[in-house]
Symmetry: C2
Subunit: 363 residues, 2 copies
């Protein structure tokens, strides 16, 4: 269900991007921001008209920082007394709590969290295709009218996103588990490297690069996110801490002068197995957690322009679809190994085709 009229409060990256998707669908959009320059930029990008509607719009999209979202919604509910309200905050319990405290109308609020974003903040970073194929969580309450839920869902679908319905607490638990706690873990592990000997860091490989990749994230932004979801993040970290304790105890007993016990090794193996089980539940790139395991075909290429073109021309000719690619560069040499992930049944035909085309396969 699409709204005919929408007011977007807060024309940053997300607010302006939502406005662009609405304009593309012919919705009448008003833009408001406490910074007049921000709404002017958004309007100049074709996101709508700066100003406020005279009569209640069908939907008000509040796209302001999580810590003020609840208050801002309550404030605008006083002016537009029949409109449905949604937001884009990355946590859902805090805005709901603040809205309640501020005496807002919970029956007209349907929380939303489009899981998209870019490093570039502000309206000038906005894109109409920002949400395509992204999860957009919608968090109705038990008694929320279906028509109001339909409006929140409608703009998500219109933006090309995949709507997922969760209650607000489940949403916060989910992002704590799948995004906030992983950020903490990656940062704390990377922090161990901050003062390490360069010669010792030199032996690191792809595993460390993968585990610490998100440790490069913006510390200020992530402090806000972690603080806004502190309860749920704590819950995950408490569980992690308890397992870490078990692991450290087992390692300490094992390395102690008295010599280790087999049960110490059993504890370690158990924890690693739990890791296997958890990892198997992470959805793959097709959003399918019961995914087929891909087979990797590794090819040696010179690290220069045109080589990948030749390689992928060859895979295309073989009629094989490449599910994923990793380039493993040589350490200090201009040779790279390209790892092509393909469905198991495609591995042999691909290997044959590439070998025939003169490519050197690597084990």
């Amino acid at each position: 269900m699409m709204p005919d009229t929408v007011l977007v409060v807060g024309t940053g990256l997300l607010g302006t991007s939502v406005a662009l998707t609405l304009r593309e669908a012919g919705v009448e959009v008003w833009l408001h921001d406490c910074d007049p320059e921000a709404s002017a930029i958004a309007a100049s990008m074709g996101a709508g008209t700066v100003g406020l509607p005279e009569v209640d719009p069908d939907l008000v999209v509040v796209a302001v920082p999580p810590f003020i979202t609840g208050e801002v919604i309550a404030e605008w509910q006083l002016r537009y007394t029949t409109s449905t309200f949604t937001d884009v905050a990355s946590v859902k319990a805090v805005p709901l709590h603040d809205l309640m405290v501020a005496g807002g109308d919970l029956t007209r609020y349907v929380g939303g969290h489009p899981m998209a974003g870019r490093e570039i903040a502000g309206p000038s970073g906005a894109r109409v295709d920002l949400f395509i194929d992204r999860v957009w969580v919608i968090t109705p309450l038990d008694g929320t009218e279906l028509e109001r839920v339909g409006l929140a869902r409608g703009i998500a679908e219109n933006a090309g996103a995949v709507p997922v319905m969760l209650d607000p607490t489940a949403h916060d638990r989910a992002v704590a588990l799948t995004s906030h706690a992983p950020q903490v873990v990656a940062s704390l592990l990377a922090a161990r490297l901050a003062h390490a000997d360069p010669a010792e860091v030199m032996v690191s490989g792809q595993g460390l690069r993968d585990v610490t990749r998100i440790a490069a994230s913006d510390p200020e932004l992530w402090t806000e996110i972690l603080a806004a979801n502190s309860d749920q993040v704590l819950d995950v970290l408490d569980g992690l801490e308890s397992d870490l304790q078990t692991m450290r105890d087992a390692l300490r007993h094992w390395s102690s002068a008295e010599g280790g016990r087999p049960s110490d090794l059993a504890d370690i193996t158990y924890l690693l197995r739990q890791g296997n089980a958890g990892r198997a539940r992470v959805p793959d790139k097709h959003g399918d957690s019961a995914a087929p395991e891909y087979t990797v075909v590794a090819v040696q290429v010179d690290d220069r322009a045109g080589q990948l073109g030749r390689l992928f021309a060859a895979t295309g000719e073989a009629g094989v679809n490449i599910e994923d690619v990793r380039i493993d560069h040589a350490l200090g040499r201009l040779v790279a190994v390209v790892e092509l992930s393909v469905r198991p049944e495609a591995a042999q035909p691909l290997e044959r085709a590439l070998t025939e085309a003169g490519w050197k396969l690597r084990s």
Copy 2:
């Protein structure tokens, strides 16, 4: 400096692969394994001759599990009283300690750790190109004769590896920091997902996939590795535990009824910044930790055979070298976004070339 004659004790994946690289260089190689079938397979692959040399070989390569490496070296040193000995164990303090306890000759032992391997165990998985461009750590002791070090270094270079000299303790500290502790952290984080609600796991994205990728590793193998390097791994995990404590305290204060203090947020930000600093020290795929930051050009493609070929043909025509590729599959749709990492100065020309060739760029 290359040996003329080598005995390989233990013809598994690593031992047989080393033997293949030596045979390629014309070295005379004898193969020995407590399992006669394993040495027979290795010999049938052209890795050398099954049996023992009559006179002392220049070098004995002991390629058996870490826990028995020291003892095995001591044993063979009794038979070959002038030969230099090296090994391939993934930890270096334990074999050295065991060799000492067994009364072996430390002056004839030069530790080695080729950082390569595949899931396929045993001689049949061996490859002559297994070590190309991989780090091969060599751990001479203070008084080790240069000629003996030269032999260990010689076979590493001959195998196409990049020799890195570290003392045994520094080696173990390095792999604890860059490989063993990351494995523990990835496994413990993934373990948190083992019993999570499927709907909640559904919201996960690329970050979680990266952090937990190595959590799929073999639990038995990793139990052995962690136990063999328990002291150094504990050292890293103790530091991590202390930071985790600080993070949890800050989050707990912040979420407590009394309300948070600004210093809690400062603690969180500090830890995340340390993560930034550590991450910046991780060598990139060219082994260069002061790496240029790459710019990502994101292109939308249909997820079917031939599309990547067309895309990389276009990048090759543009004369742009692709440093890395990530395929971000659509969630349940057959559209993928291919992220091409290129040197910053190449981004604009590439974007122009791709747009002209009709590709749809994504923000």
